[in-house]
Each structure stands twice: as C-alpha cells, then as structure tokens.
Amino acid sequence: MERMEMKGFLERVVVIKRLWLAMAVAFFVVLPFLIGKGWLSLVNEMLIMALAASGLNLMLGYTGMVSFGPAGLYAVGAYTTALFLTKTGIPFVIAIVAGPIVAGAVGAIVGWFCVRRTHVYFALLTLAFAQIIWTIIFEWYGFTGGDNGIVGMPVPDLLMSISHYYYFSLVVVVICLILLWMIGNSPFGKILQAIRENPGRTEFIGINVKRYQLIAFVLSSAFLGAAGSLFCGFSDSVFPDYAHWAKSTDMIVICLLGGMYNFAGPIIGSIVYILLSKLISSYTMYWMLFLGIIVVLLVLFMRGGIMGFISEKLSSKIQEIRLRGQYDTGS
C-alpha cells in the first residue's frame, strides 16, 4: 500500500511542472553559497544568454522567422547602456532599462524592412542589417570607441561584487522570462505559432500576418536588448564583436540545442552550451571542431533539441501515468 502510494507520488512529481519550477528558482537563489566566484560568474553568463536566446526564440521557435542577426539588437542594447553610463550621469538602473527600449525601437525600424520579405530573403536582410549595425559601431570611433569598445562602466558599488550582480541578473532574467511566458501563452502567442505552422491559412482567417511578425520582431529585439544591457553591466565593457554574426549563430545554436519548440529549451540550451564550451576549450584548441560536429549531429538526428528529446521520451511515460492514475484512484 505504502509503496504504491510512494511510486504514484513520485510519478506525479515528475509531471507537476510547478514543483520543478519552484525547485529551480530555489536552487538558483542559494547557489552563491555553494559554489566559488568563478563558477558563479559563469552561471551569471548562462542566465544572460538564456534571456537572449529566449528572446530570439519568440521569433524563431514561436513564429518561425529565421533571423541571421539577433546579435545586432543585443549589441544595440549593450551599447545603449554603455553609452548612457559613460557619457551621461543617468543612474544605473535607468541605463539598463534604456537598453531594451532603444533595442526595441531599432528592431521596429529594421523589422519593418525585413518582414516585407520571407524565407531566405528575410534571413539575408537581417544579416545585412546586423552587419550594418556592426559597421556603424566599428567605424564610428569617436562615439562608440570603434574596435576598442568601451571599457570601464561606472557600476554602482552595491552591484560591484559578483554575487550581488548575480542576484540583480537573476531578478531581471526571471521577470523577463515570466513576461515571455505570458506572451507565449497568450492569444497573441497562439497566433504567432499559427503563423509559423501555416502563414497562408492564418492570413485567410483575417490576421494581418506582417503586422504580427513585426510585433514579434520588436518584442524579440527588446528582450535581446535587455540581455545585452545586463551583459554590459556584467562584463564592465562592450565591444563591436557583440554584434558579430558569430554571436548570432551562438544564439541560434543554443535555441536549437535546447529545443526551439519548448519554452525551457533556450534556457537549457544556454546552460549546456556554455558548460560544454568551457569544458571542451580547456582541453583542446579545436573547440570549434567539436561545436561544428555537435551542430551537424543535432540537425541530422535531434532536431527538437534536448527538451524535444526529453518531452518525447517523457510524453509516453506521462501518458502511461495518466492512464494508470485513472484506474488507481479506486484503491
């Protein structure tokens, strides 16, 4: 009797997402007391990257818009914060908030041009714009510091220590993720997914597809900009390479690795990717080779990413549990 109850309970635990969520949040909160500063710094990076990838996934996974240039908007956010902090006396938190706002605005302009086209032309347009953003940052030496970037932000003393900035990032990222979750699960989010599945039919039922795509683009840009701003405060510096398409590809690979069709996908992807890159590059100088092989294997064999793989394996298990539960309540 007891054993059956226990087994049933454990199975139910696996199913109840809220429990996992609470545990995860608790885990992150107590983390600074468990691990050293170096590792905490790495986790901080993972959180910021998770936010960037989740922002990108609003366009990529939900709406099916393949952008080659998310790093451009990320860099806009980072540079906005950097420029506000170094050139004006605005308080830190306002400079951070300005990042996503400006990134969203730039996203509106860039997006307006890009959504006029689809598929490979859309992707090439996003690439061209990202490269233009990179060129502007690189060439406008007087304003943006050019290839030297901007180094040394006036970060408030309260946030100077690694664990304090970690908590700050955690709060911002969790708030943004909650917002993204709400957007994704709202009627708006459902329409985006409909557009991904079949833009033609969605147009037929009266939805202005281009307008929804543009809104998705702008929202995505804003969250990317938020991640950029956070990273600016974290690393105390910004460089033109933040807009480079190599960084864009990092973000896309993270979404793919974690699973594009799952909310937790980009988050898991970010953790795994950064851990892997750190582990592998400490052993070999050919880390890019392993990354390339991983990417190729992912595309060929595991297109749903990690979360896709887990959901597949779990969904059959969960079905089983649900069915059994229906029968067991009697005993």
Binding site: V66, I132, T249, Y286, G292, V299, L300
Partner: protein, 292 residues
C-alpha cells in the same frame, strides 16, 4: 581623374571581382538547383586554396606545377564537396531552411578547424607562375599580368558555363531539374545524382577560385569569412540562381569597392550591404533572377 588611373582602378576592381564571381557562381548554381544556401561555400574555397598550396609546395620541382594544380586542385575540391553532399546534405533537402542554414554553418566550423588541424595556423604563399608573372604597361602604368589573367579566366569560365548550361545535354538535364524537380524525376532523370553533380560543380568553381587566388595573396585561415559576405552580396544583386546575374553582380561589387575607396573610403565597406538591402526590399530576385 586621369584616364590611366581610372583604367587601373577598373582593372583592379575587375580582377578582384572575377575571383569572387567564381565562388558566387558556385553558390548561385547550388541555390538555383538544390534550393540550399550553402553558407560553407567560403570554407570550400579555403579548402581549395590549401589544396593548391599543398600541391604546389609538394611538387615544387615539377615544371609548370601551378598549371597542373590548376587542373587537379579544383577536382579534388569537387570530390570533397561530393562527399559532403552525399553524406550530409542529402538528409536535409526536405527540411526547413533553418536546418539547412544550421547544417552548413556547422560545416563552416568543421571545415575551418580541419584546415587548422592539417595545415596549421600560419600563412602560406604560392608564387606567381610563369608565364603570367611580370607586368605590362597599360596606358603608361605598369599593371601585373596575373591580374589580367584572372580577368581572362573569369570571362572564360563564364562563357564556358553558359555554353555548358544551354548547349549540352547535361546542361539541359540540370536546367530541367532546376525548373521542375518532380517532372524531371517523372521523366526518368536521376535527380539525386544531378543534385550531387551540381553541388560538385559548385565546389569545383570554388576550388578553382581557391587555386587562382594564392599567387596574388596569401593562404591562411579566415579566408572563408572574408569572401562569403561578398558572395552573398553578389548573389543578391545578381539574383539567386542566375549565372549571368552572378557575373554582373561581381563586376558591380568589384567596381563599387574599387572606386568607392576614392570617394568615401571609410564607408566603402558598407556600400555593399546598403545595396544588398535596397535590392532585397525592392526587387529581391535581383537584377537577373526570376520572381518566385
């Protein structure tokens, strides 16, 4: 500006453009028939360049070694391409563009690192071969013969490809598959083999460019990134899938860069992107492509 200066700048721009044309032509043909944008095309070009270096340095004592390399290295590159197509690309033709993009991006990394593994991190040089070394006076200015040779090669390849596509049986087969894959399949054409063949042709072109470039520059890692953006710009301007488009696009980009450095040196690099955006917004199928 004096006429000699204009001529020199134009010829310089054209010689640069012709090398890019060869790579872009491959990219365009592959997209036109296979409907895949091969991001790794620049990497294949780089592999071709390294193969060229290996041939010329290993057989340096052979007379006319460069000319032998010019025949063999592109074929070797095409074979590498064939392997890639058969084992990797074939599996994703039916998939969304995103996966094709990610796969070819993964290839960039793998090919780049393999080059690093095999050939190391330094740069290598190949000397300009006889008889196209030296320079000739053009309107009083001394201009390298090799650059003129490059222009000649580009034109010859362009004409040869056009002839191949439009006046040979094989070319018709390829055009048939490009136009309507299902129909060609129904007519008994072995479509997968045509796909492999076209991909190998594209890689042959990239390998040819990779063989022609080293005598006037250096062979080093990073060559893939340098050319791929230029190639995107060319195929967008000319039209994805159009061979004459790639030729015209290459000429435009070459001249734009060459004369751009006179007018607005610092922003010359952005001209290409701005032109690309304009074309994509107004006329995405480029100057000579077909609207879908």
């Amino acid at each position: 500006m004096r006429i000699e200066v204009i001529a020199a700048q134009a010829l310089s721009g054209l010689s640069v453009g012709m090398v890019l044309f060869l790579i872009a032509a491959g990219l365009s043909i592959i997209f036109g028939t296979l409907k895949v944008l091969n991001l790794a095309h620049g990497s294949i070009y780089m592999v071709g360049a390294f193969i060229c270096y290996t041939f010329t340095s290993t057989f340096a004592h052979v007379i006319g070694v460069f000319w032998w390399t010019l025949i063999l290295a592109p074929i070797a590159t095409a074979l590498v391409g064939g392997l890639i197509e058969i084992f990797l690309l074939r599996r994703i033709y039916a998939e969304e563009m995103l996966y094709q993009y990610i796969l070819t991006f993964g290839l960039i990394l793998v090919l780049g690192e393999m080059c690093k593994l095999i050939w190391g991190v330094g740069y290598h040089t190949v000397s300009v071969p006889w008889p196209v070394n030296g320079s000739v006076p053009i309107l009083g200015i001394s201009f390298p013969v090799y650059n003129l040779f490059l222009i000649g090669c580009g034109i010859a390849v362009f004409v040869g490809l056009l002839f191949f596509m439009h006046y040979t049986g094989l070319g018709s087969t390829i055009r048939a598959v490009t136009y309507n894959r299902e129909m060609a399949n129904a007519l008994g054409i072995n479509v997968p083999m045509v796909y492999t063949g076209v991909f190998m042709l594209g890689c042959w072109l990239a390998g040819l460019a990779g063989t022609l470039m080293p005598p006037m520059s250096v062979v080093a890692l990073g060559a893939d990134m340098e050319v791929i953006i230029g190639c995107f710009i060319i195929v967008v301007i000319g039209g994805l899938g159009s061979l004459p488009g790639a030729f015209i696009g290459a000429i435009i980009l070459g001249l734009l860069t060459s004369f751009g450095i006179f007018i607005v040196p610092r922003l010359a690099v952005a001209f290409g992107f701005i032109l690309m955006i304009i074309i994509l917004v107004i006329r995405p199928w480029g100057l000579m492509g077909k609207p879908e």
